[in-house]
């Protein structure tokens, strides 16, 4: 079956611009996660959705970052007034279970590489 897909695969923007990154999770997966991966580092948690609601947004670095999941499937990560430090690979993952389930496996998309010039 289809895995997690993310679009675009690459996004180049200028400092100060607004960007949207899209994630299509595996059908039926209720949990959805966004991570940011900087060069040479592991993925860093941004936000977790259970259904339509953001159950944990403690990883969002500041109020320029926002994410939605209005119908409990597709999610969009929105970044306002982009800065050069926002350049990274943004990863999306989905899971059939809530994250408190022991051993809950996350299924990752290939990521969106964001470059802010």
């Amino acid at each position: 079956g289809a895995g997690v897909s993310q679009t675009p695969s690459n996004k180049v923007t200028e400092k100060g611009k607004y960007v949207e990154l899209r994630c299509d999770p595996i059908s039926g997966h209720t949990a959805l996660y966004w991570y940011r991966q900087s060069l040479g580092q592991g993925p860093e948690f941004l936000i977790y959705f259970q259904g339509t609601g953001a159950a944990d947004d403690s990883g969002l670095p500041n109020d320029r970052f926002f994410a939605v999941r209005p119908e409990g499937s597709v999610s969009t990560l929105k970044i306002q007034r982009t800065e050069r430090g926002d350049s990274a690979v943004y990863l999306c993952a989905s899971s059939p279970l809530a994250r408190t389930s022991a051993g809950n496996e996350q299924f990752f998309g290939p990521g969106t590489r964001l470059t802010v010039l």
Binding site: G3, V4, Y33, Y35, G40, Q41, G42, P43, E44, F45, Y48, D56, L91, A93, A98, R99, T100, S101, A102, G103, N104, E105, Q106, F107, F108, G109, P110, G111
Partner: protein, 112 residues
Amino acid sequence: AQSVTQLDSHVSVSEGTPVLLRCNYSSSYSPSLFWYVQHPNKGLQLLLKYTSAATLVKGINGFEAEFKKSETSFHLTKPSAHMSDAAEYFCVFNTNAGKSTFGDGTTLTVKP
């Protein structure tokens, strides 16, 4: 604070020789632990997971890991490396609330 440390940023082995990728965790309780692999331009894929059942966990592609509470370790091993094992490997720690913390990764190079 709970955390996970991958002790080697790069590991290089010859094809057919054993692989050891080291991971230590810091926690006041027994966590859920995972190993994921990331091939270039592909999403992270789960190799194996530990959830307080058997301490020796077998995963896909011949990998296994042993949870050692006394050493707070969860090292990943494979008896014989294959060229296709070359990738980035991440050790992941889940808190009781299910929040994931990733190590910084280990790049595995396999020489012919």
